[in-house]
């Protein structure tokens, strides 16, 4: 197994074009586990930690602020530097592994692995994130909704690398919740993200670890857009929350595995959906001037 260590993005892209079988490695929190378990034996590892430009984030100058988050920015920095602008992503980042893993792991790596249980995917789906991928042929932006193509498969071409994620700054409440089999250092049994966009009277909801890919719960989103009493202050009806939970559960396609049963996942996601909706709605009420 060769170990390639480019120091610029151009070198990295050239290496990936020449060796499409090379597996990119950033924090190594997924790749090293797979190597240790002998689940894969790539011909080469392409270490991206020497590419400084991947480890930066920036904000676009436009009024509708967009964050370009370099693929190599570790979760710890997402939490400490972007918690205000990207609250949903920061919440998901806090649930990743341990402090040591959060110091190494990256959103880019989460996308490269494209595990259905990856912690940040539901947030990327509900925030309208676009994945920036590059090759020697050029750069393109893939909407997160089109990025996940199967269990641990994504839309990257063999010569492409994930270089960044573009995320709009939050314009409304965002929530993320995860159930694990212990309180930390654990792969999600299931996870859920929700973003409300009160200006457009829209909502997005997405599930993790309960289908072959992370996916949006489209019918549940439509239900919220139509039924949420956007302009009206006050708590939500229980019947509305319950129906939302049911629609989220219906969007799942879970399996039984060592972490949990399919039935548990469906049930727990309905609970997470109801809870996160309550939290997001309360958050929205506090922000709304009518409640001030």
């Amino acid at each position: 197994m060769d170990f390639l260590r480019p120091t610029t993005l151009d070198e990295a892209l050239a290496a990936k074009a020449e060796r499409p079988g090379a597996v990119p490695i950033a924090g190594g929190t997924d790749v090293m586990v797979e190597l240790n378990f002998d689940h894969r034996r790539p011909e080469a590892l392409l270490d991206l930690t020497g590419v400084g430009e991947l480890a930066e984030w920036s904000r676009s100058s436009g009024s509708d602020g967009e964050i370009r988050l370099g693929a190599g920015v570790p979760y710890t920095r997402v939490i400490t530097e972007l918690g205000g602008r990207l609250p949903g992503l920061a919440m998901a980042s806090r649930t990743v592994g341990s402090p040591q893993i959060r110091n190494r792991g990256t959103v880019g790596g989460n996308l490269g692995s494209a595990s259905p249980a990856g912690d940040t995917h539901p947030v990327l789906l509900v925030t309208g994130a676009r994945v920036e991928v590059a090759s020697v042929r050029g750069t393109r932006l893939i909407p997160a909704t089109e990025f996940y193509t199967g269990v641990k498969r994504n839309a990257l071409a063999p010569d492409e690398l994930v270089t960044a994620v573009h995320l709009p700054e939050a314009t409304g409440p965002q929530q993320f919740a995860k159930v694990g089999t212990r309180n930390a250092m654990v792969i999600a049994v299931c996870s859920f993200a929700l973003a409300l966009d009160p200006d457009r009277a829209a909502a997005r909801a997405a599930i993790g670890s309960a289908a072959p890919t992370p996916r949006r719960a489209v019918a549940a989103e439509r239900f919220l857009a139509e039924e949420l009493p956007w302009g009206t202050p006050g708590p939500l009806r229980d019947s509305l929350k319950r129906r939302f939970g049911e629609l989220v559960a219906e969007a799942t396609e879970p399996i039984d595995d060592v972490r949990g049963t399919a039935a548990y996942r469906r049930h727990a996601l309905a609970v997470l959906a109801r809870r996160t909706l309550t939290w997001a709605w309360n958050d929205q009420q506090e922000r709304s001037p009518s409640c001030a």
Partner: protein, 724 residues
Amino acid sequence: MTRLVGRGVPRVDGRAKVTGAARYAADNEIAGVLHGFLVMSTIARGEVREIDPSAALAHPGVVAVYTHADMRTLTVPGFPYNRTFIPMQDTRVHYSGQPVAYVVAETLEQAQEAANLVRVRYRAEPPVARLADAPDEPFLPEGFRADQPTETVRGDAATALEQAEVRLERTYGSPMQHHNPIEPHTTTAVWDGETVTLHESTQGVVFTRNVVSAVFGLPPADVRVVSQYLGGGFGAKGPVYPHTLLTVEVARLARRPVKLVLSRAQMYTSNGHRSEFRNHVRLGATRRGTLTAVIGTSTAQVTRTDERTFNTNDSAVNLYACPNIHVRQLGVRLDLPTSGYMRSPETTAHFGLETAMDELSYEIGIDPVQLRMRNLRPTDPQNGRHTASRHLPACYRMAANAFGWKWRNPLPGTTRDGDEYIGWGMATETHSHNAIRSTVALTIGLDGRATLRTATQDIGTGTYTVLTQVAADELGMPLGQVTTLLGDTAFPDASLSAGSSTVPSVVGPVADAAQGARDRVIALATTDPRSPLHGVPAEDVDTEGGRLFARGDRHRSDSYRDVLTRHGRPVETRSHVENTRGHSFGAVFVEVRVQPRLGTVRVSRVAAAYDLGRVLNHRTARGQVIGGVTWGIGFALMEHTAVDPNTARVVNPNLSTYLVPVSADTPSVDVAFVDQPDSGSNALGARGFGETPGTGVPAAIGNAIYHATGRRIRDVPFTQDKLL
């Protein structure tokens, strides 16, 4: 006179460990060493038909691939080798993950890769992997240790149960579990002529030496086993396992030293486990809560080749004062590796008893602590410390006060905090400890420094520190003037570091050897005209800080160093003092918070108090409590080795799918000790303790979950799906 014993002295080996200076068994660099890797069976029952090593032999660096065809006939040893066969002696396969070939190569990577290239063809038979798949086959095994019978009868339990005012009948269960010490098993075998040295990660260098000596027909003196530090054992390294014996033989065949380190996955079939366990408990009691009958029938996995069970129902026999007891420990033969001792083996059955006691307390309508207090076993004035503690009531009281038990709302399912249900539960903690004949040698050199040598080992519990404290106190030296050397059969034979036996077995001989050495040095001084102490009666000399003083006249003093320098020869003493077996006791109180809609359980508070006789080191004793409680949380909430019922293979042989608690699962533990010396123990009044804390924790957590939710779960782990 005591200055160090009893204090929370920090680890004397702490610096070596955190700086990497401590030499663990695999840290050796031996010239010409070959690296071994085991090829494990992929079927659980059947026969090896053919082994094709050609691809492996063609791999660069590979020196040899050994199979049953290459091995001499080895003598199958007795306890502590817990199997009735040695793998690779014939073609029979008894479990998935049994060694069938042994690859040696110049590097570990080459050996590992070549092991993957060995082609093995089998004739497979369908295995049986779960107790539930052999429901009609439990039998009463003979038992393999005289001190651990598989059946105990006291009084007439059947009649007493029939006549009891209150009867309770329940079944409790726990799955297969694995020890998972962070340091894997490792053996390096170095032959020199007809003698062999093993660098081994073992809880018993003497045990290992004796087994290797028996298997290979060598005089014990020709086998040396070295194990200076261990990264945990938890029983996985107590008995001797096949990989050690195979490595010794392969090193002989290869005529080169061979080093083997088991992979994490291989440790799920190579070194025993806690067996899957069912415990059918019947209690009879009066309406006031006095136990009149205890009937416990447990069923554990054994194998088709042997019938050893390791999880005694000790507390059902010994903890409560019930006149009518019938305890049986049945086995069911499955196609799995032989199980073994795993930290606090008595927890396995104790979980059932202490949950049943909680159920009985609700049935009768009395406080769970009161129910236990009503059934305390009186201390036998002759030999009381063996099975009862006169300080157990103090343990209940101290832990209950620390916890705030008197504020308990007795109604289950009625205490909430937002979405969460809060529950309180408690259980008695108890475990036996062993006492193993141990000898120590103590030398005071011409520099006045003392060196203690004994062939016990420190598995991470603090043995180096405690023995150094004891020797320093008895000698009257500062801690830094005493060096303790352990883990080498070149030293006098001493206790296994298992069965909570190290302190009760070794502390007495250390104290005695140190007293003997001190007395010899005092005698040298008082009879030496050059000493300021010349002529002072020996009994009037005190030792402190490395110096000898005339009592009442501190100006007349000498030092160990000066006495020894004038003497011109080291002073050496040797001692063995035999102690007796016993039990330690305690009480643990637990608060849980349950999210009923998600079924998640969080342990939010733990308070515990213990009677372990005299506490030699509060810091290491507290460390045992933190470790034990953490194990108890894992036992209760997550630990579970999943075995595929069709192939009898472990499907989660790694720490990312075999979950153990992490910091976020373990609250800080409020720990208290009664700290009264046990006059029956010659280990300065200390008893064995390591395995007591945690024994009650699984039941206490289950009892707290019941109190929180009104739901009684009788099978661990208490996972989310069970609580919905």
